[in-house]
Amino acid sequence: MTGKRIITLVLIIAVLALLAALPAVVSRDSIINMAVLVLLYVALASSWNILGGYTGQTNLGHAAFFGLGGLTTRLLWLSAGWSLFPSLLAGAGAATTLALIIGTPAFKLKGVYFAIGTLALGQVLNVTVGDMFPMITSLPVQQLVSYQLLPRYYLFVGLAVLTVGTAYVLVNSRLGLGMMAVREEEEAAESLGVSAFRHKLLALVVSAFLAGLTGGAFAFYHVGYYPQFLFSPVWTFDALMMAYIGGTGTIIGPIIGALFFVVAKELLALRLVEIHLTVFGTLFILVVLFLPGGFVQAWASIRRALVRQLGARGVRLASRRQAS
């Protein structure tokens, strides 16, 4: 138990050190940009996982929170001249407010209605923002001239650490136990004193806050894009697929999923959105059908099988030794 803990701690420190040192080791911007993408997806998938994986409420409108955070941050930071951090916080605040507004009625509905409700919310915002902000948003010339990748990279490192850390602390707390109880068996949880409504709302609010922050970081990072792009359902479904492929309801699952997703996309050179959706969609369906716990579960099964094999061999060896 403690041995396992020490290994985990060492691994975490190693990963953090690697992330901190990465820009010093590789100087190519393309690698750093890829790392940014991984970190972005780690944050997005982990934030989705708080509600979707740990609380069992399938949110099909995560892009709405990501997009609203991004839109708010970009507007405040570029157009209103706010400095970065207040703009990021305001973006996350806007996403949280939206979560409170839609969460209250949405959680009065059950199961599939929440999924449909959030899907509708995402689509409505997607279309509305497309109509209201049809023009591309680009960094002004003076920003472009002084554009630096490294601060953006470190912002995403901090964001990913914050998101994963928040998820970890939350799910290992009393509230996390309540959230998972609601996921497992809502009526039983309520009969034991857990307010399902409050726990779902809490999970949604935390999830939306972190997604809004991630959207804000994207708004700070990206040179030029259509505001509507951040509201595309692709963000929702990518995050959802990563969480599932890696393993929902685990801390490491969305991290593995994000890493796998970005690297595989790069290796397969599937830059076109349509094709990558087909490939990953197929993989997602296969995982849901045959491996509901994702890579994390697959790894656990393999390890159990190995231990059993080795254990059996150990017993055989021991009995042989005894016999001789």
Binding site: R174, L177, G178, E187, E190, S191, L192, G193, S195
Partner: protein
């Protein structure tokens, strides 16, 4: 002050009157048996008492508080816990985690998760499942799951505990075991409403019995009286002689 008082309780589903104008009360520390044919409204009564259903009419007063139509989690926090006729175990939790939920969210909840884990072990021990604390609930037998749900409910520190067919599906030895357990719980000072179809068990356990038929109370009294009530024999007990 009456411990639990139910007045004029009514609930219908569409045209079906599941509970009709039900009155009853319980003394603190007693075991009340609730029996009746299938569909007579026993589970519905428990659902009404725990906020799982909202009554159409009537009032429920628990230790001086009006708890009519209270939210489910509030019922537990006020001291009314329950088990379910069809088990609703947290299957992907360990046995200990199942019980921790009750301890972390029930009455006088534990200060933190560590305390909840320690105190949850007491409830596991109470039902004889302490050696299964680290087992996944899905790997437990039906009997063990039922005991686990009991431990979970006890961990919420209720004053009133509602048991919906705890013994259904158990063999004779297991049912004996469950009866002894229910008596021990009563001796620890918890008042209970026990729904069972095993007549011998309910007669032996209860201080008082209420018989429901088609949503109406048709008898209310000590086991010895219920046993020989002609109406009860006709609709529920059948012709078999009553063995006490």
């Amino acid at each position: 002050m009456q411990f639990l008082q139910v007045r004029g309780l009514a609930k219908s589903f569409g045209g079906l009157m599941a509970i009709h104008d039900l009155d009853f009360e319980i003394e603190e520390g007693a075991i009340l048996g609730l029996i009746g044919p299938n569909g007579s409204g026993k589970t519905t009564t428990l659902n009404l008492l725990t906020g799982f259903l909202r009554p159409d009419a009537g009032t429920i007063t628990f230790r001086g508080h009006n708890v009519t139509g209270i939210a489910r989690h509030r019922a537990c926090q006020k001291g009314i816990a329950r088990t379910f006729q069809l088990t609703k175990t947290f299957l992907d939790f360990t046995a200990l985690q199942n019980v921790m939920v009750g301890r972390a969210y029930g009455q006088q909840p534990a200060r933190n998760l560590r305390a909840a884990a320690e105190e949850a072990k007491e409830s596991l021990e109470q039902v004889g499942l302490l050696d299964k604390a680290g087992f996944m609930a899905k790997d437990l037998t039906l009997m063990q799951r039922k005991k686990l749900e009991l431990a979970r409910a006890l961990a919420s520190r209720p004053q009133l505990l509602l048991l919906d067919e705890l013994m259904a599906g158990l063999n004779a030895a297991e049912a004996e075991d469950a009866m002894a357990l229910i008596r021990r719980i009563r001796d620890s000072g918890i008042t209970m409403i026990v729904v069972e179809h095993i007549v011998k068990a309910i007669l032996g356990l209860s201080d008082r019995i209420i018989v429901l038929n088609m949503g109406e109370k048709i008898a209310d009294g000590p086991p010895g009286e219920i046993c020989f009530d002609p109406h009860v024999i006709e609709v529920y007990l059948g012709k078999a002689p009553c063995l006490l």
